[in-house]
Amino acid sequence: MVGLSAGEKNFIRGGIEQDLRADGRQRQDFRPILIETGVIPQANGSARVRFGATDVIASVKAELGKPNPLQPGRGKVAIYVDCSPTAAPAFERGGGEELSTELSAALQKCLLGGKSGAGAGIDLSSLMVLEGKVCWDLYIDGLVVSSDGNLLDALAAAIKAALTNTGIPKVDVGVGASPDEQPEVNISDEEFLQFDTSAVPVIITLTKVGREYIVDATSDEESQMSSAVSVSVNSHGKVCGLIKRGGAGLDASVILDMVSAARHVSQKLIPLLDSEIDAAEAASLAGQGSDVDP
C-alpha cells in the first residue's frame, strides 16, 4: 500500500470536512455504479459490480445436499470471498488472506440473519427440497478483481444482483422412497425458481474521518479513517447487521447517529441498485449484454 504525504492527507481530511471530496463528491455521494449480470454462465447466478475503480464479481452456485440435522427444514448458504492478485500484487500468495476472511465473515453476518433464521436476506426454508433429506446448498463466491476502497458494500451489492439473477431448478422428488434411503431426485432443465430478493439487504459502510463520516470511501480516504461502521439495511428500513471496524473508539451516540445516516442513505441506494439490476437483467436477456465488440 502506497502511503500518503502529510499534505495529501490534509487535503483529504480537509475535503471531507468541507463536504467536497477529492473527486468532487459530497460526503453522502456514491461513485458511479455499474452492474452487469449473468457474467459467469456456468453459475446459477452471477453479477459484476463496479463502484468507480472498485470491481467485484459474485457468483451463486446451487448444489443438492443434506440439510443440517439441527435445522431439517432449511437449506444452507456459504459465503466466501477471494482477493485476486490481479487486483493488487500485494494479494499474491496469501497476502489477501486476512482481508478475504474479514470480508467473508462480515457478509455472512449481514446476510444470514439470526440463528433462528429470522431476518435472513435469503429465506432458507425456500431452499428445502425434502425435509430432513435433501436441500439446496448455496455457495456464494465473491471475487475482488480491482480494489479502490469500499469492498464490502460492492460485494454486498454484487451478491444482491447475483441472487436476482439466480435460477434454482425445480426438483421433483421420487415418491414412495423409504425413510432410510436417499430419495430419487429429478432435476428439471426447464423450470426455474427465481429468488425473491426484496429481503436481501444492502450494506452501507460509513467511514469516519475526523468529525464527519463519508459513504463509499476510496482507498486513499479509507487510509485516513479513524474507524468505520458497516450497517446492513433492507428495503423496509430495518437494520439487519452492524459491524464496527477499525481502531478508534466511538461514543454510543455517534454509532446510533451513523445507523440513522445509513438508513437515510439506503433509501436512495436501494431503489438505485434495484433499477440498475433490472436494467442489467434486461440487457443480458436481450442477448447483447452491455458491451460491444468492435
Partner: protein
C-alpha cells in the same frame, strides 16, 4: 466479460454510439502508420546493403532483424528501432518529474517514480533549509527527515543515469521540492508530451498544476516560492489564528488553516478534467485540461458529475471538433 476499457462508464445506447463515432472520427483524422506496426517476432524489412544499427526492441535471427516488442517501426538514418505506443516512461535528462519518497537512506532519498526502478535524490543535489551553499555535514545527514520524510511528494528534475540504469535527480532550483496541499494523480506516461513548461500556475484558479513526465500529476494549492528559503512544514501546524482577518479563512476542527472552498473546488475540477482526459486516452496538455474544466463550468455540470458518462462523451465530441477545425486551418 468481454471488456473495453471504457466499460467503466455507464453508457446508454445513444451515448455509446456517440462515443464510438467520435473516437472513430479521431482515428480517421490522425495520421495512421498502420503500415509500420509490428508485433513480437515480426520481420523488420531493412536494406542490408546500407548497414543497419539495431536499436531498442530489435534482435537478430538468421541475419534478419526481428522485433522483440509490439509497436511502430521508426527509422532514423541507419538506426532502426521499435517504439511502443503504450510505452512505459522513458526518462531523459532534464525531465521534470514528480515522485514519492519511499526510503530515507544515508545521504540520499529513494523515490518511486512509476519507472521500473526507483530514483535516487542525493542530499548534495538538494538545497538545504537555510539556503546556504555549503558542504553537507554529518548533522545534515541526521536531519534528512526534516527536509523530506517517507511518503512525501516531491518535484525534481532528472540529472542523469546511474551505471545500473536507475535515475539520479536534482532539486536545486526553488521551484522544485516538497509538494503540500493537493492531490496526486497517476496517468499513463505516454499521455504526457514533453513541453517547455511543466509547471503551470493557473492564476484564475489559484492552483498549481505540475505535469510530471513520468505520469504523476500534481494539482495543488498555489505556493509562492519566496526568496531562497525552503518552506517549512507549515501545513497543519496550529497557527496563531488569533488574527481577526482569519475569519475569511476556514478553520478545521483542530484549528488548523483549511484551504478555501473555492480553491478546493477548482482543484477538484482540474483533477476531474485530468481523469476524464486520461480515461478517454487523450494527450494531457494544459490547454486541454483547462478547456475541459471551463467546459464543465459553462455547461453547468456539477464537479462530481464530470466523471459521469455524459461529460466523457461531450469531451470526446469537443475534441473531434477541435481537431477538425485545426485541420481546416492547415488545409
Amino acid at each position: 466479460m468481454r471488456d473495453l476499457h471504457l466499460q467503466q462508464l455507464r453508457l446508454n445506447q445513444t451515448q455509446r454510439v456517440r462515443l464510438q463515432t467520435a473516437l472513430q472520427k479521431l482515428q480517421d483524422v490522425s495520421p495512421s502508420s498502420a503500415a509500420a506496426t509490428v508485433a513480437v517476432a515480426d520481420n523488420i524489412p531493412v536494406n542490408h546493403e546500407d548497414g543497419v544499427l539495431k536499436g531498442h526492441g530489435t534482435s537478430e535471427l538468421d541475419g534478419q532483424v526481428v522485433a522483440t516488442l509490439c509497436g511502430v517501426v521508426e527509422r532514423v538514418n541507419k538506426l532502426v528501432y521499435v517504439r511502443t505506443l503504450r510505452a512505459r516512461y522513458k526518462p531523459e535528462i532534464g525531465d521534470i518529474i514528480v515522485g514519492r519518497v519511499i526510503e530515507v537512506a544515508t545521504k540520499h532519498w529513494r523515490l518511486e517514480i512509476n519507472f521500473s526502478q526507483d530514483a535516487v535524490l542525493m542530499l548534495s543535489s538538494m538545497n538545504l533549509p537555510d539556503g546556504i551553499q555549503r558542504r553537507r555535514t554529518a548533522t545534515d545527514e541526521l536531519n534528512m527527515r526534516s527536509i523530506f520524510e517517507e511518503n512525501d511528494v516531491i518535484c525534481a528534475e532528472v540529472r542523469g543515469f546511474q551505471h545500473d540504469g536507475s535515475l539520479h535527480l536534482q532539486a536545486r532550483s526553488l521551484k522544485y521540492g516538497k509538494l503540500k496541499s493537493g492531490q496526486l494523480l497517476t496517468v499513463p506516461p505516454y499521455l504526457i508530451k514533453r513541453r517547455k513548461q511543466h509547471f503551470h500556475h493557473l492564476e484564475n484558479y489559484g492552483v498549481d498544476l505540475i505535469l510530471g513526465c513520468n505520469g504523476f500529476i500534481w494539482i495543488g494549492e498555489h505556493v509562492e516560492t519566496s526568496n531562497g528559503v525552503m518552506e517549512g512544514d507549515g501545513g497543519n501546524k496550529v497557527e496563531e489564528s488569533n488574527e481577526s482577518s482569519s475569519h475569511s479563512v476556514p478553520l478545521g476542527e483542530k484549528g488548523q488553516r483549511l484551504m478555501s472552498l473555492e480553491t478546493r473546488q477548482h482543484i477538484c475540477q482540474i483533477a476531474n478534467a485530468v481523469r476524464v482526459l486520461s480515461t478517454l486516452g487523450f494527450s494531457l496538455t494544459t490547454e486541454g485540461i483547462l478547456e475541459a474544466a471551463k467546459a464543465s463550468i459553462s455547461l453547468g455540470i456539477n464537479t462530481k458529475d464530470m466523471l459521469g458518462a455524459e461529460f466523457h462523451v461531450q469531451t470526446a465530441e469537443r475534441e473531434v471538433g477541435r481537431r477538425m477545425s485545426l485541420l481546416r486551418k492547415k488545409g
